[in-house]
Symmetry: none
Subunit: 226 residues, 2 copies
């Protein structure tokens, strides 16, 4: 999921805040929707189903806490992230906010950097859940995003090339990867390396993961077996 597919709803009664926050987030590529009070905010949330809602705690008519509670009641918005804007020192709002189902809060005065990185961080979680770039093969567990490999419950640290080579082979157990394919995928098609390079890396993987996991098909390439 790309940033342009992510909708963010901003709810604040101060147009200045809407503008500055909106500007900073849209320059990251996010789709921005705004609302100027809690009631409108809840309405738009239900209609637009944003991925993230940034809502001011202190607003006339309906405050952020109340709005958040309403939002949380809507089943379509269960997975929506809610972030509160609070004035520094309004400590209580954090507590009440978390009670109401907020995922995070940002204190005013707003620092664009903080704002953007917080939003990114929150949405990263969201993206990760979507993709889940990890898989299991027998006793082997590979998490590409976290760069983590677990073999028989034990964590193994692999250098980059080895990691990439393993995760390539293990991504399709049983498939024979030709040497050309491997070079393309792991080294890049521009890079030229010597003839023994792949072998050496395979060897290291055999040492660390287990000899039987890697089969050589002479004249063709290698395959990973469970």
């Amino acid at each position: 999921m790309k940033n342009k597919d992510i909708k963010i709803l901003l709810v604040d009664d101060e147009p200045d805040i809407l503008e500055i926050v909106g500007y900073n987030l849209s320059s990251e590529g996010y789709q921005i929707i705004t609302a100027e009070n809690g009631i409108e905010g809840v309405k738009k949330a239900k209609k637009e189903l944003p991925n993230l809602i940034i809502i001011d705690v202190m607003m006339p008519e309906m405050d952020g806490i109340e709005a958040c509670e309403l939002i949380r009641k809507n089943p379509d918005l269960q997975n929506t992230l809610v972030v509160f804007l609070t004035a520094r020192g309004e400590d209580y709002s954090q507590v009440a906010g978390f009670d109401a189902g907020a995922d995070d809060y940002i204190t005013k005065p707003i620092k664009p950097k903080v704002l953007v990185s917080k939003v990114k961080a929150l949405l990263r979680r969201f993206k990760e859940e979507d993709v889940a770039d990890s898989f299991k093969i027998g006793s082997l567990e590979i998490n590409r995003d976290e760069y983590k490999i677990t073999s028989k419950g034990k964590e193994i640290i692999l250098p980059r090339k080895e990691f990439e080579l393993l995760s390539l082979l293990a991504s399709k157990p049983g498939k024979v990867f030709k040497r050309d394919e491997i070079l393309d995928a792991v080294w890049g098609n521009e890079v030229v390396v010597g003839g023994r390079t792949i072998d050496v890396h395979i060897r290291k993987l055999r040492e660390k993961i287990g000899d039987d996991s890697f089969k050589t098909i002479k004249g063709v390439g290698y395959k990973f077996v469970d």
Copy 2:
């Protein structure tokens, strides 16, 4: 410490206020003690040693400011929190109140939700259990809200960047954070820092927290291990 172990003293000459505040707080489980004037308030404070005192600024005989000053003089009440009740607009009392040693104030008319959240927030420090945004990793305890880190029971004070870096890495033990990710999260994606910046901060953390807790994955990034 649980709510039922927390004592709150309410001091106000208006029985209505005592009742509404008392009701809302006792339904949160707090122990409530009341007093109808400043003199009685101070007396009960010394006797009961409450964790929190909510005291009206405007009272006959002895006003809240005076009472607060007396309370602060008592060594047994040094850690007691004092919150003032003031009518909106009585600006002077805030200033005078903080001088007198108040920790916070609440304006009338009292909104139960605001009151309760404010009290919760103030009392948070007494209750380590239900603190939001804090977590434990092995012998390490991180409380993001309070900017506090405890390692093996000993409190460690970390500067901002180090704190943020550590709490990032420790938030997902085992996950390898790529240098880019770290820069994004800790420094913000706009900031450009030199190539050795992360390393230097990692180094400081290794000094303070322990060398083994941080693993380097060359060409990728760092990870925190238990």
